[in-house]
């Protein structure tokens, strides 16, 4: 038991942080600046604790509900860093000015905890619980802007959509449970490997389960909440939403499919049990997701919606990795998640800064940003780096991510998928570049230099931009990390 808790320290730290935040809200609710600091420190400690637990052996614990393995360890880093970024982004946000900040930060930390649990869950029940935890907290945070129509509307849509999706998932889980007699992913795999089971029922179960996962990562056809919610939610939270739950969704997708529904071969490839045909399903959903995301992004005029569709498209790229069914693919997805997190958070931070400063989310208003003083230039250059990276142009991190993904797909011999993927990234260029074009090629309506309310934001933007370039050139460390992390405990 003591050992189990040792594995659980990062989560415990988060729980502790939540308690401290409660206490602080109770004792010193007037000290508005205190809460982000507590949350920040809590997350830092969680990251430290996670670092400290890096060499622990992989085990299942809590009756097999939760797993400690390299994959989960990796995702804890991602969530911790996303949380840190979220706190920085929320700092002095114009949107959140009137909101209840103590609860906001508490909810953020709880959300992080939920994502951590989701990424480490190894039992259907735990998956359901943690997924609901993330969902419910997300609904609340989406509707956090009181008296703002779009926020409430988005939250309501989100909750209905999420309810249906998780309901379908629960129904799917019930079928899987019925078929295998177990909720533990490893046991399910053992059962499926050894016993006959109805393939069609299994497929129905997988498809309905996919509704829950797909909704978390915003994959077609479970993506439609995404643009509306991104647009309606407070932007700092949108930034977290576009990265955190998506990453958690991929963690659970990887764990679910690769643990319960495949067995691994000696060559590092995973083989689909019983030939259920779910990899084809994933491949088709992946194609549909990226194509739809990219095409719809072409005609957007709101930058948050544009980034929403772009995030859908990126989910499509990453699903491609899942369909490839090999070790490289898992590594590629992990790698892609990291670089996606960096560049997408960067892009959102620029959006937040512009929104705070200019009060606009319209792409048109980015006109001539590069000509508005050194800050404007900095933001425009950073945004350019993020957007080009999202397109996948070397030497930026996004390219390396795509390189890994396409590499895995080519390795798996799925050439049509790869070609559609690269064509999609060409299409995506068009809308990313439109923003860049506006920022540089056009003259601003108001040429006055920009000033920044929060100085630290410009450092963070620069940092993320540099990181994007750095990972594009020297990604060996990150590659090694993902290689280490792409190990599941079966």
């Amino acid at each position: 038991m003591r050992e189990n808790l040792l594995h659980f320290i990062p989560e415990l730290v988060l729980i502790g942080t939540i308690l401290v935040l409660f206490l602080a809200a109770f004792l010193a609710s007037a000290q508005q600046r205190l809460f982000p600091q507590i949350a920040f420190v809590g997350l830092l400690m969680m990251l430290l604790a996670n670092y400290g637990s890096r060499d622990l052996p992989a085990i299942h614990f809590f009756s097999g509900m939760v797993t400690y393995d390299a994959l989960g360890h990796f995702f804890k880093y991602i969530f911790g860093l996303v949380g840190l970024m979220g706190i920085i982004f929320s700092h002095q946000s114009a949107e959140l000015e009137k909101a209840d900040l103590p609860s906001y930060y508490t909810l953020i930390i709880a959300l992080i905890l939920g994502m951590v649990l989701l990424a480490t869950a190894s039992n259907l029940l735990m998956i359901y619980l943690s997924l609901e935890m993330v969902s419910v907290l997300s609904y609340i945070l989406t509707g956090y802007l009181r008296g703002v129509r779009r926020s409430s509307e988005a939250a309501l849509k989100y909750v209905i959509y999420g309810g249906v999706a998780s309901g379908m998932m629960a129904y799917g889980f019930s079928l899987l449970y019925g078929l295998t007699g177990s909720m533990d992913l490893t046991t399910m795999a053992q059962y499926l490997g050894a016993n006959p089971a109805s393939r069609s029922l299994l497929y129905v179960g997988v498809l309905f389960s996919m509704a829950g996962f797909g909704y978390k990562v915003a994959a077609f056809p479970f993506h439609m909440w995404c643009p509306d919610v991104y647009e309606g939610a407070p932007t700092p939270f949108t930034a977290i939403l576009s990265v955190g739950p998506k990453a958690a969704g991929f963690a659970v997708l990887i764990r679910f499919f690769l643990t319960a529904l495949t067995h691994s071969s000696a060559s590092g490839d995973f083989i689909d049990f019983k030939d259920t045909g779910w990899p084809e399903m994933i491949a088709i959903l992946s194609i549909a997701t990226m194509t739809l995301g990219n095409l719809t992004a072409l005609v957007q005029s709101n930058i948050k919606r544009l980034l929403a569709y772009s995030s859908i498209a990126h989910a499509g790229y990453m699903l491609m990795g899942l369909a490839a069914l090999n070790n490289e693919a898992v590594r590629a997805v992990l790698f892609y998640l990291v670089v996606y997190a960096v560049m997408n958070l960067g892009a959102f931070l620029v959006v937040i800064i512009i929104s705070n400063r200019l009060g606009t989310e319209q792409i048109e208003d980015y006109k001539g940003l590069g000509h508005r003083g050194s800050l404007g230039l900095l933001l425009a250059v950073a945004m350019t780096i993020f957007l080009f990276s999202l397109t996948g142009v070397p030497p930026l991190a996004g390219f390396i991510g795509k390189f890994y993904l396409f590499g895995a797909v080519v390795r798996a011999g799925l050439y049509p998928l790869a070609i559609i993927g690269v064509l999609n990234s060409v299409i995506s260029l068009y809308y990313y570049v439109r923003v860049i074009k506006l920022m540089f090629f056009d003259q601003p309506a108001d040429a006055s230099p920009l000033s920044l309310p929060v100085v630290s934001h410009s450092y963070v933007v620069s940092g993320l931009a540099i990181l994007t370039v750095y990972f594009g050139l020297f990604w060996n460390g990150l590659a090694a990390l993902t290689e280490r992390s792409a190990k599941l405990l079966f």
Partner: protein
Amino acid sequence: MHFPYLSFMTFFPLVGMLIIGLMPSHRADCIKKVALFTTLPPLVAAIGLLMHFDKANAGLQLFEGPYAWIPAFHIQYYMGVDGLSLVMLLLTALVCPICILASWGIEKSPKGYFALFLLLDSAMMGVFSSLDFFLFYVFWEVMLLPMYFLIGIWGGPRREYAAVKFFLYTLLGSVLMLLVMLAFYFYSDGNTFNLVTLANQQTHLGPLKGEHFRHLCWLGLFIGFAIKIPAFPFHTWLPDAHVEAPTAISVILAAVLLKMGIYGILRICYPILPDATVHFGTLMAVIGVINIVYGALCAMAQKDFKKLIAYSSISHMGFCLLGMSSFTPEGLNGTVLQMFNHGTITAQLFLLVGVIYDRAHHRDLEGFGGMAQIMPRYSAMTAFAFFAALGLPGLSGFVSEVLCFLGGFRSFPIITVISVSGVVLTAAYMLWTYQRVFLGQVNEKYKAFSDITARELTTLIPLVIIVVVLGVYPSYILDLMNPTLVALGKTLTDLKIAGL
């Protein structure tokens, strides 16, 4: 251990870029000077490289690396030159300072312009020196970014359209290349991006499975490179890009960037997929002849001076395709020489168009007339460049065109004979243009135009000298690359004969 010429040439411009980045943007003069002096050391290094280069050695040499860059993917930092890349590096090193000089008149945020230009310079050098496919690809793509901004910010009225078109087209080509690159990696022995190792693996005998698959790989690469050449029917980005780009960028685009397509085919398709190359030889020749004739006919129909030159570039790059498709030593030598010569000649043409555009602010061929009386020296320079472009013997263009024809005739007599008609067409549109713009009645509107300035002349004179010298003594360059190309051609010819 020799001086790392290649790395120096590749990364020195980046140093200049950083320095410019740190300079205050109102010191335009200083920025220009820094830019100029950043492009000169690579030129010196290129000459050093030339001195150090062993002409008798057909293979790659003066290696730098391979150093592990990303061991996880066996990606290396690996550079080296052979006759082929040496010539291209010389061209790039030469054209860059000229372009900086030609950009002296840039007034709109010179800081950004020159910084981006130097980034472009660096990437171009990198492409020509890389021996690792991944490294090559990274440099290849890095070129796109500065190019996009240079056209899009400093270009003409339709610059946005042109820039996006350029970017989309070339990105489309390069993502296909990316896929093939990955296929090479996964299907090669020991999973490598190292171009030398890949070529030595004789993939047509070894690990890359299936003939069909190799043909697909070849086509993927070829489309990627053909867009850059640009080969029919992937060429329509070029006229737009040229028309909108500022003068110096047109120069660099025509003189260096277009060469990368051919270079890529020769560096990657030929050695790594020789059997597929032989299989598609006729395709290349046919595209070549279409480029030549079609480009020339289109050029004749143009009313915009720059568009005309752009189409003439398309036509001239067709000679390269024709020459290289023959696999004969003559054809291959002609191709590479034509790349170099086209670089120097078209650079002049674009510089010259820039001169008149700076004065008249339009490029309508019908809108001039009698300029030879107003600007005699400018007209003389233009006449020289035009005659060089139409392949006048004694100037460099002739040698390479004739070699392309000679080579092409061996393998594709009929196609080549059709191509030779391009010589007549080229002369027709060049002379017709010259007559319309420079000869005949003086257009009173432009009577006050000043003749070509010393700075403008400075950009042209080195190119003129090279064109003359290589026309009279082409062996100077041919000797550099002949061994490399003979070796390359031999593999393919042997395969071709074996295949028959």
